[in-house]
């Protein structure tokens, strides 16, 4: 075992990258949940985003186009969930599960021809001299553009929810859909858009895994990240900046256990690999006391006649 092989600066830089898929997916889910929709299909939307992004990036040789395709793919898949829960008034838990099961199958089908291919690389953003600053340089200014997009999305979601009329309407729909309906807001339309935003974010999060984190395609490669993202929204009490904090925490754990595996710690690899899931459970338990922040209409079906 050689712990000195773990460089704290590189660890912090890497944890930001490890956190980005969770961050994107969780931020998208946060918006959906603030609109009152519990979408358990995050894992399915992520994996479909992962293959859409991968396939299109390989075909066009452009990672940027890949990410756009991943967002579109995730949003299209989420439309299925929106149709089930908003139009046919199906149970949100069951529909979300269906979306995940369907997404896992669909991605495996789409990804058949893409096993073993290397995707085009996304170049890091060039910040010029900023990247040469000791410590801060490698941590803050040595990343791919999507990582910064992720942080920007968090900031944008926070600002929109807090300061804009659109954010106020969205929250109203999530807190009390009957009251929002009585005021004349289109509950179904607003929720559908929120679900699609969640799908687009989850899709990009998935593509981040297949294009940047792992750079390859394997079936089921999101391996529960979508579920961790769902847990993270609870952890964050439905607040955007706390999603960022939580994502970095989980990114840190993921990265640390990988580094410990690399350093040959005496703990078997499998036990290190299960640690992010165990810690998610522990965090859920610790934070489960406070449910006050949950949107009032979360998970409830809305129909104008009721």
């Amino acid at each position: 075992m050689d712990l000195s092989a773990i460089n704290p600066i590189l660890l912090i830089a890497a944890l930001m990258s490890a956190a980005t898929p969770i961050l994107l997916a969780a931020t998208g889910e946060l918006v959906a949940e603030r609109a009152g929709v519990l979408n358990l299909g995050v894992e399915g939307m992520m994996i479909v985003g992962a293959i859409c992004g991968f396939a299109i990036a390989v075909e066009t040789n452009s990672p940027v186009v890949g990410f756009v395709a991943a967002a579109i793919g995730g949003a299209l898949l989420s439309l299925l969930f929106a149709f089930l829960t908003q139009v046919t008034l199906a149970n949100q838990v069951a529909s979300g599960l269906a979306l995940t099961l369907f997404g896992l199958g669909l991605s495996a089908l789409l990804g058949q021809g893409y096993v073993g291919i290397k995707p085009p690389r996304m170049p890091d953003v060039n910040f010029g001299f900023l990247g040469d600053i000791p410590i801060i340089g490698p941590i803050l200014f040595s990343h791919d553009p999507i990582l910064y997009v992720g942080i920007a999305v968090v900031a944008a979601v926070w600002a929109t929810l807090k300061f804009t009329r659109m954010g106020l309407v969205l929250r109203a729909v999530g807190e009390n859909h009957d009251a929002a309906h009585a005021l004349g807001y289109k509950v179904v339309r607003i929720r559908t858009l929120a679900i699609m935003f969640g799908g687009a974010c989850a899709g990009m999060g998935g593509a981040y895994i297949s294009l940047i984190r792992v750079p390859q395609w394997t079936e089921g490669m999101t391996a529960g990240v979508g579920w961790i993202a769902l847990a993270l929204v609870v952890f964050a009490s439905w607040k955007p900046w706390r999603v960022l904090l939580g994502a970095y925490l989980f990114g840190g754990i993921t990265q640390l256990q990988l580094n410990l595996q690399g350093a040959g710690v005496a703990i078997p690899v499998e036990y290190l690999a299960m640690s992010p899931y165990v810690i998610t459970i522990v965090v859920l338990v610790v934070l489960s006391a406070d449910k006050s922040a949950a949107p009032g209409s979360l998970g409830r079906t809305f129909h104008a006649s009721n």
Partner: protein, 360 residues
Amino acid sequence: MLRLEKRPQPSRLFAYATPVLAVLATFFFGGLLFAALGKDPVQSIVTIFWDPLFGEFSFFYRPQLLIKGAPLVLIAIGLSLGFKAGIWNIGAEGQYIMGALFGAGVGLAFYPAESALIFPAMVLAGAFGGWIWAMIPAVLKVKFGTNEILVSLMLVYVAEQFLASMSLGLLRNPDGMGFPGSRNLQQYPSAHNADLIANTGMHWGVVAAMIAVIFAYVLLARHRLGFAIRVTGEAPRAARFSGVNPNRLIIFCLGTSGMLAGLAGLFEVSGPAGQVGIDFNAGYGFTAIIVAFLGRLHPVGIVLAGLLMALTYIGGDIAQGQLGLPAAAIQVFQGMLLFFLLALDLFTNYRLRFGRTEVA
């Protein structure tokens, strides 16, 4: 203009018709999918749904129906109890793995002793393994109000890592020349869950599934606890006023479903699968969710749904071999089925009306 109107009473007709319509819709859209993959849609559907039952080699495939169907029915029966009460155990896959590990562990601990008591001990251990794994989300929910969906799901990934660690470590076959995986229980008579009647696929797991179905039916139709489950699902507040203790219900529903999933794992590892291996779990825990819904959370419905889903597995394998249909296509097919079911369920509670929306 079309609009929806809530029915005063759920339609019984549609409650029964929905699964059938969903299957028909899945045939149609599944056929389109197969056509998009460049296969003859009619031939694909026939290969998947007809050949295993009535085709030339059906004598070979029919036993498979019980082998694949039993774990699905066993798990889905347990899940349906919780689903009815709004308790969502999504981690049956993990409980299935833990049941297999506990059960196989007990069997392997006695190797090579021969005794008629070994297999019953394994069954108990398997049930216990699944039960204890389900108790984690149950106790956390009761004590701390933690979301059981997320916890039970996280535990699937933990269980998968346990499985890997066990098949590489503690349970690895000492005579296996270093390959991962345990001894083959099929070659250890005291621990082997063999066919009760040769070549029928009729093993102890099928018997257990039948018992579970009868048990669930009686529970729901006749017993006070079954009444508590139904009331809690339909009107949680009313249930509390009528004296239902929600915590006990959570412990019971999660515990039972965990136990049944554990049993399914044990019967699988000691029978058809034979050994603990890294890829031992085949997704039965997740497919059982579809089975539970497709069976309308009703014991008899679940049996039918379980057999249908088993058929898609077997037919899917045949289609893979004969038509080169990718394995993932069957998974998409199963997912589609659940979508149509959920969507068509609308008509159980609502009816479509033509005409303009009245201004309220």
